[in-house]
Symmetry: C2
Subunit: 226 residues, 2 copies
């Protein structure tokens, strides 16, 4: 069992137990504000040699990439049931989705990872930004789209572009929270606040895109395109 040990080449190989421990060490360093992630610090914290790090991950960039992907792999799941969709079920699904997203977003890990990716996005070669993007907003959209489409099919949502509807939902949920957290603002919302915000965002979204309630404003979609 020698092959499939180096993560560096392609992100295809799944990390071994030991490698996952190393990646967790890197994550811990990334999150800890009193520490800085260097190859030396990762090796020390993971009780491994730097040589092993380079053997497994190629270089610093490979280690960071593997770390981001490892964290992304952890977050998955959280499936939304969408059978027998009525307005209440749709609202519940959106609400749960928003709350999950806010929880992830305001977590120290997410903040640290986004900072890392943003920091190296200004340089040329930066897969990190793309990876975080892929596992952040894009993944959120991919998971939310079937829900919105189901709502559309059930006549609960009126919009001519699911993508636009998703981005609006994103804005209503996140607002200025993420940029503030990234800039160092201390305002990590508590659980009750998250639930309240998720509810507000959902209700606002349904007020804009919901159909069949008689008080929505879906006519905005047509006007917005001229």
């Amino acid at each position: 069992m020698q092959a499939a040990q180096t993560i560096a080449q392609e992100g295809l190989e799944a990390p071994t137990e030991r490698q996952r421990a190393v990646l967790d060490a890197a994550l811990a360093l990334l999150v800890d504000p009193n520490e800085t992630l260097t190859m030396t610090s990762v090796a020390r914290r993971a009780s491994c040699s730097k040589e092993t790090l380079y053997k497994w991950f190629g270089d610093r960039d490979g280690l960071l990439t593997a770390t981001v992907q490892w964290q992304a792999a952890k977050v998955r799941a959280v499936q939304l049931p969408q059978a027998g969709l009525d307005r209440t079920a749709l609202a519940g699904a959106l609400e749960q989705f928003a709350a999950d997203w806010l929880r992830v977003l305001s977590g120290t890990t997410s903040v640290a990872l986004n900072r890392l990716a943003i920091g190296q996005a200004q340089t040329l070669r930066g897969d990190l930004g793309r990876i975080v993007l892929e596992n952040g907003p894009v993944a959120m959209g991919r998971r939310l789209r079937p829900v919105l489409e189901a709502g559309q099919a059930a006549g609960l949502i009126a919009c001519d572009d699911v993508e636009t509807a998703f981005r609006t939902f994103f804005g209503l949920v996140v607002r200025d929270l993420q940029i503030r957290l990234l800039l160092g603002d201390r305002l990590a919302p508590g659980e009750t606040e998250i639930r309240r915000e998720a509810m507000r965002a959902t209700q606002q979204f349904l007020a804009l895109y919901g159909a069949g309630t008689g008080q929505n404003a879906h006519h905005l979609q047509q006007e917005g395109t001229r």
Copy 2:
């Protein structure tokens, strides 16, 4: 005229002509993706000595801080007229505001500065994050608040918390644009797209918070607080 030349101590002193040129050089380096901002590169580009940089700005951090403040000082202005407010005027003001904000947000300078501030926000001492925050979302809120309050006073906007309304407007305008740009996504919107988005955000905002049209949904405000 020896005093008031060092910017390092407090941000009180206004930079001299020559110092402004240095700060512009720093900004240029910051924006250029092919360059990296180092003390040496700033000195070379500004045709000044590093000794002068340290004399004026104390250290690298002081230079960065002065640079961010200098850029912030440039952006000001863009006053919104708010006399004789009716629904059309309010919508126009919001729309212009949103368009201005999108233009700033998607500019290379804003992206570079936010990246810089976010990058160093993970460390302890980071006034940069606070400064950018102060000149970003907070400044936007400060400028928008009187407009919203005027709209409220004129019975055009129904909300029990101007701050919440502002943050919602922020979300509707920015959505996922800023985080995508920061993460390196290429999608800088053109002028026509900015105008369209500003219009959409404004209409959506008025649909949620607008009063007196008979099709708004301001009742959400009460529900959202339980």
